[in-house]
Amino acid sequence: MKAIMHPPVDMFKTAKWAFSTRRVNRMDAVRMNDQFENAQAGDLILGRVSEIGQHRNIQLTSGRRSLLYPGDLVVLACGARYAPDQFEGVAKINPAGADMLAGGGCIGEMRLRNERIRPATKILPLGRIMAKDGTPLNLERYALPKARIPTALPVIVVFGTAMNSGKTLATARLAYGMRRAGLKVAALKGTGTGAFGDYNEYADTGVHYVADFTDAGMVTTYQEPLDRIKTGVETLLSSAERAGCDIAVMEIADGLYQRETAELLNDTWFRTRIGGLVFACGDAVAASGGVTELKRLGYRPDVLTGILSCSPMAAAEARAATGVRVVNKSDLADPSEAMMLARKAFVPCALAAE
């Protein structure tokens, strides 16, 4: 291990800790090393902002955004990112300069960038944060306990055609509708990139329990093995079950073709575990394509929603093309509609396409 250049504890205290690190006990952060070549996804990295790019803010553990200034110290988690409207990046730290891949607190190496956005904010890595015993601090260390026995909590999943198709709003409104119907509801995010936007949107509905994959120890789920993602999903469901929830609504990030999303949909355990499927999409053609792809995989969505549902004409086209009902955000938030979806989810294995 190389020499520590600076007593780090004061730096840890000064730094802005990103939302993705919210479960970390900061008292454990006492040392650093600069063996960045060994950095793993989830490792905590102390860095200094060297150049402001796409991300001008960092999402803090307190739930608010903080403007970033060159020279700011930040604590982020090493991770990969998949965001077609921003970056693709990998969980790798370049000692000469790393990339802030997500405002929620993901640092790595950018590989691809959407041409409509700016280059990533540059972070000069100062060290991997270590515990007193010299082990690297990793989000996994602070994760919720893994499920000891398989869970039975009914779960409705929300998929979509892509980012920004309306999945988060659908998840929040459906959870809200169920809460209004008198259920104890968990709003969960099963895959994606750690950020407080979705988390807070869920929490604002007043549901009984909110968690995401960062609570299961992953800063993002991109390039994580399927087994780990499934363990994370089961961890979240187990935690919601222990919290006394009656049902969970779980958002799965990105589109159907995204690698981890596609793997989940192809997984037998996942197929039998879910009790309902809501599909968010932007227009009737997207709806038709999504329903066809889901059918190929053996699923039939219970309802279509998302941006599509804002337009009565588009909704009518989609229903005619797919035969699947279209519901808007008000419908999902309605306790009678939400209960209709919940009742189906209470019957196990109800989802398989006929």
């Binding site: 209004r180 119907a181 008198g182 009902r325 419908d331 309605d334 306790p335 009678s336 509609e337 209960m339 209709m340 009742r343 189906k344």
Partner: protein
């Protein structure tokens, strides 16, 4: 949405709760003087909106049955329509919000409550129970003017098919809870003299008359029969019963004082008068 709540004591053992959701809903709470032995009963008034009459007649039953009785009042100002559930009029959501509030106050501690309605209140009661059967235990329907039949061949709100405007949402929602709706005790009450086809308060339309009959008495008989048949078809106990109250008209006080309506509805099955 419904976080504005006030609680005012107006008499010993009686409180008024107001819950604000889309519209304001008030309720009188009748507490037994002794220990609570049975789950709460929610009692819904008819189109006269005379919640006080319900409270007065149910008050002795709160003591006799050892249960909290909750009497909401749908004020005309906020609820021009409360008997039916439509996209514009959502008395079901107001009731859900009231129930959620009463759970937070530990007034309702059981998983479900019994539900009673008279006349227009019985219309709302059975529609609420069809939409939200998980909240309702025993259902008591007093002299409803007409019913939403669990029949997909008729348009909503007469049945569960698409409305005449093509909207299939209500029918679907109620159909999804139908098995749960049927799996409970459903008791109908109607005055033996409630047989005037020309009662101006009675909804009359040819298709309604044909499907349900021309008087409340006939409509109650047909509904009870339809529900019993469906219960048998669904493999649940055929618990639906009709009590015709001899000599009683379409008047809540008359049915309560001379027909024993409130005692029938408020006392659990094991404690019935007869």
């Amino acid at each position: 949405m419904f976080n504005s709540v006030s609680l005012n004591t107006c008499a010993v053992g009686t409180k008024v709760v107001s819950v604000e959701q889309d519209q304001k809903l008030t309720a009188t709470l009748l507490y037994p003087s002794g220990p609570v032995r049975n789950r709460p009963l929610v009692a819904l008034h008819g189109i006269s909106r005379d919640a006080r009459a319900l409270a007065d007649h149910f008050a002795p039953e709160a003591d006799a049955a050892g249960r909290v009785i909750i009497v909401p009042r749908f004020a005309r100002k906020h609820w021009p329509v409360f008997q039916r559930i439509t996209h514009r009029h959502r008395p079901d959501r107001a009731l859900l919000a009231l129930v959620a509030d009463l759970r937070l106050r530990n007034v309702i501690t059981s998983e479900a409550f019994d539900l009673f309605g008279f006349s227009g209140g019985a219309q709302l009661a059975h529609r609420f129970a069809m939409l939200h059967p998980e909240h309702v235990a025993d259902l008591h329907l007093g002299a409803a003017g007409w019913y939403t039949l669990p029949d997909a061949s008729m348009p909503y709100p007469m049945g569960l098919g698409p409305s005449t405007r093509g909207d299939d949402r209500w029918g679907r929602r109620m159909a999804s809870g139908l098995a749960a709706y049927l799996d409970r005790r459903i008791v109908l009450y109607v005055g033996g003299l409630d047989d005037d086809p020309n009662d101006p308060a009675l909804r009359r339309k040819p298709e309604l008359d044909m499907a349900q009959g021309t008087t409340r008495l006939v409509r109650a008989r047909r509904y009870a029969e339809a529900i019993r048949d469906l219960q048998l078809k669904n493999g649940v106990p055929a618990t639906c019963a009709l009590h015709e109250l001899p000599g009683c008209s379409h008047d809540f006080a008359d049915c309560a004082e001379n027909g024993g309506l409130t005692a029938f509805a408020a006392r659990p099955a094991a404690e019935k008068l007869n």
